[in-house]
Each structure stands twice: as C-alpha cells, then as structure tokens.
C-alpha cells in the first residue's frame, strides 16, 4: 500500500504544520485553521482509500500532496473509439488535464476515461453521474500490469519447479517451497471433492489458487494494488469456473438440475427453477466472496492506518499502528484463505458436475 509511504510524507507535514501553528500568536486562529486542516485531512484520506481500491491508469507509488507531485510511472492507455487509440497515461496528468489524441479529447473522471470536448467538460445527470460517452477501455492499467507480473512470476516459478523435477525426483530451488502446496491442492482439494476424474481439473485449480493467492499477497505489499478486490477480476475468475462446470456437466448433473431424481413429480417442477438458479448463484457467490473479502480487508486496514493521522496523539496513533500490524497478519491469512476457498468451492462445483452415481440428492 502506498499508504505507508504517505505516512512518512504526511507525518513530516504534520510536524511542520503543528510547529508552525504553535508559533501562532492568536489562539482561536490556530484552532480554526487546525479544524480546517483536519476536515481536509479526512477528505484526503477518504479520497486516498477510494483511489487505492480502484484501478488506475498509472502506477503511482506515492504522491506528495503539498507539491502535487506523483511518484510512479505512466501506463499505456488503449481505447476503442472509432479504431484503436493508444497513448501514454502521462497525457492525463493524473486526471488533472484533458488528453488529446488523434483529434479526440479524453478526461479521467473517478479513474474512468470519458470522451470530452477540448475543455474537458463533464456533463452530469440528476444523480451526479457523468453522462459523457465512455470509450471501450482496454488500457494496461495498474491491475492489468500486476496480472502480467503475477502471471510471469507464476510461469517462472512453476516452469522452474517443473524443470527441476526433470532432473530428479526431488525438486530444488524456490519452486520447492510450493511443491507441498501443489500436493495439498491435489490431495485435499481436488481428490476428495472431484473424485477419480480430478486430473483434468488440476491445471485450473492450481492456476486459480496461485493466481489469487499471489495477487492477494501483492495487494498487501506497499505497491498499492488491489487486483483481487476488483469486481471485474473476480467476475472473470468466477465466469471461468462457471463455464468449466457447465461444460464438464454430465447427464447426471443436468438430470439433478432439471429433473431431480428421487422426489415426487410435482416437486420436480418446483425444484427445477431453484436448481437452475443455483447454477448461477454458486459462481456469483464466488465472485462476491473474493471481491468483498479483499476489498473490505484493504479498506479496514487503510482506515486503521489513517486513524494515526486523525487521532493525532502518541497513544491513539501507537494503538492504531499495533492494530494495523495485527490486521496485516490477519490479512495475510485471509489472502491464503480466500484463494483456498475459491479453489475448494470450484473443485466442489466440478465435483457436482462430474459425479456419476445416483446416491447424492
């Protein structure tokens, strides 16, 4: 999280401000300005958390609010707007300016790209939603970049592990650490839940587990990424699980959905829509669970850290730092746990789809 970097800049800023304010002669003037800065601070924290949770078109490590400088690097913006439009996100200047490309004007509003006129006017409807045209945005955003990085990391790690297995029965190198996890997924997630046909689901289960886990862990680093806490990402993952489940479904699986065996005929008519609904609810729950857990974790953790600045005393600040420390440890656990749950439930759904015998109702 870039919050920790922000901590230093802000802390320095506060020391400066409070020292300056203490030197003021008029007391009530001091108070007023203090309160004003506090409200601004709260607004800033809220904005910062919102900003962190959302995807971004540039990779910002931390920002200096006083000078308005952002430390990071821009990422390519790829838009589909009457043809492919590719330009660097540095043109947006972190949403402060209108980007011009091929005669079109684009502006960032709440981290989304809107098409505007040359002045960057954003029109709002009654609910204060932007009504400007939104071009299809295929930009390599921060989250996409992190997915690339994670994919590359996973590929290097596990191809390395596979390579070291080619040399002998005992794995060597970094991949060795992940070998027990691979075995755990096979023996305690895939085998008991899917049954004898577990082998063809193993690549997906392993990939999804490590993908979610690594991205969850990246989310806990000060890089300030929140990939698995993004609804589009979890939707994509849940959709893949859903598609695999439906395409693996055998006769028995569809029969259990549309014509439940072992219940009276009228009940079959009642159960069919419920079961059919369940088919969609299961991956939907997968999507929401992962998204909500990671999102909530990030928001809570960042809010606790932000408490240091709002409380502004040594005891409260210290306490919230200790609390943030323990929360971080819990988040580490949650990172693995959510990856595990996603994998386990996916395996369970695959198990339903390929189940052969008829005892289960």
């Amino acid at each position: 999280m870039h919050k920790t970097y922000l901590v230093k800049t802000l802390l320095a800023g506060f020391l400066l401000i409070s020292g300056f304010l203490a030197a003021q002669e008029v007391e009530h003037h001091d108070e007023a300005s203090h309160e004003g800065s506090e409200a601004a601070l709260e607004e800033e924290i809220k904005e910062d958390i919102d900003h962190h949770i959302q995807d971004s078109h540039s990779f910002t490590f931390f920002s200096d609010t006083e000078t308005g400088k952002h430390y990071g690097f821009p990422l390519p913006v790829i838009l589909w707007d009457n043809g492919l439009q590719v330009f660097s996100s540095s043109k947006f200047h972190h949403g402060e300016t209108v980007a011009e490309h091929n005669g079109n004007y684009y502006k960032l509003y709440h981290s989304k790209v809107y098409k505007t006129d040359a002045e960057g006017t954003i029109n709002y409807d009654d609910d204060h939603h932007a009504t400007n045209e939104k071009p299809l945005d295929f930009s390599i955003t921060k989250n996409v970049l992190m997915m690339f990085v994670t994919g590359l990391l996973m590929f290097l790690l596990f191809a390395g592990l596979a390579k070291s297995f080619g040399k002998g029965p005992i794995a060597k190198g970094v991949g060795r650490f992940f070998e027990p996890i691979v075995l755990y997924i096979r023996d305690d997630i895939a085998r008991p839940n899917i049954g004898p046909k577990y082998k063809r689901f193993m690549p997906y289960l392993l990939t999804v587990f490590f993908f979610i886990w690594f991205l969850n862990l990246f989310g806990l680093t000060p890089l300030g990424v929140n990939v698995t806490g993004n609804i589009a990402v979890t939707f994509a993952l849940a959709l893949i699980t859903f598609v695999i489940t439906q395409f693996s479904g055998n006769k028995n699986y569809w029969k259990h959905i549309f014509w439940m065996p072992g219940v009276p005929t009228p009940m079959k008519f009642v159960l069919a829509p419920i079961e059919l609904l369940g088919v969609f609810i299961k991956p939907f729950a997968l999507m929401i669970r992962l998204y909500a857990n990671i999102m909530a974790g990030h928001v809570v953790l960042m809010s606790i850290i932000a408490l240091v600045f709002t409380v502004q005393n040594w005891i409260g600040g210290g306490l919230s730092l200790v609390l943030a420390f323990f929360l971080s440890i819990i988040e580490l656990l949650v990172a693995a746990l959510q990856a595990y749950i996603f994998t386990l439930l996916s395996a369970l759904y695959f198990g339903f789809a390929v189940e052969e015998h008829d005892e289960h109702h």
Partner: protein
Amino acid sequence: MEKLINDFSFGLFFWQILLFVLLLLLLRRFAWKPILNAVNEREDGIKNALAAAEEAKKEMQNVTADSEKLLKEARAERETLLKEAREIKEKMIADSKEQARLEGDKMLKQAQAAIESEKKAAVAEMKAQVATLSVDIAEKVIKEQLSDKDKQLKLVEDMLGDIKLS
C-alpha cells in the same frame, strides 16, 4: 450494487480472461503436467520402494526363521547325539561291569573248584597218611600188646564184642 456495476471495468475483465486463459494454457503445458507427472512418478517410486522394503523384510524374516529352525534342529541333533553317547557310555559301563562280574564269578568258581579239588586231594592225602599212621600206630600198639597172650585174647574178645551181628 449500482456502484459495483459502475465500477465494473470491461477492459480489466477482458485482460483478466485473456491473461488467465493464456496463463492456464502455458502453465498446463510447461508446469502443471510435468510437475504432477513427476510427483506421481515419485510417489509410485516411493510406493514401490516401500513394497520392496516390505518384501525384503519378509524375506529377512523368512531367513531368520529358517536359520532359527536350523539352529533348533542342530541343537536337537546335538541333544540326541549327547543322549546317545551317554546311553552308549552307560551301556558300555554296564556291559563291562556285567562282564567283569561274570569274569569274576567265573574266576571265583574256578578258584573254588581248584580249592575244592585241592582240598579233596589234601583230605585224601591226609586220609591216606592218617590211615598209614594209624596202621603204623596200630601195628606198634598191636605189636606191643601182642607181646602178651592175655592181652591178645582180651583184644580179640573186645573186638568181637564190638561187632554187633545185625
């Protein structure tokens, strides 16, 4: 919910699907299959090794049992051999004792027989000598006594008296 839908970024979704499927295919080809195969092979190897070890253990047990059996047999043989030897010894001792006894008896008998015959011979000789002596004595006595007529008569008379006609 509205915020969720509003937050939904189609681009991110597109990249996620593309990247994930690509990653899945790549990892399946270059990582998961070799890893899982290697692990399976290793597990089979371990299983085989364990089975072989079990087999070896059984064999070992068999060998031990065999050697124990052999040892037992050898012990039993020794025991019987010893017993036989003891029996032979005892028999030999008994036999020699018996033989000695018999020999002794025989010798004793022979000795007795010799003694008996010697005795008989001695007695016979003694008898002969006694007879000679008594005849001599009697001759002398008679010579003495027969020097006198009366005495001679008396003697005859006595002798006649002694003979009882029966």
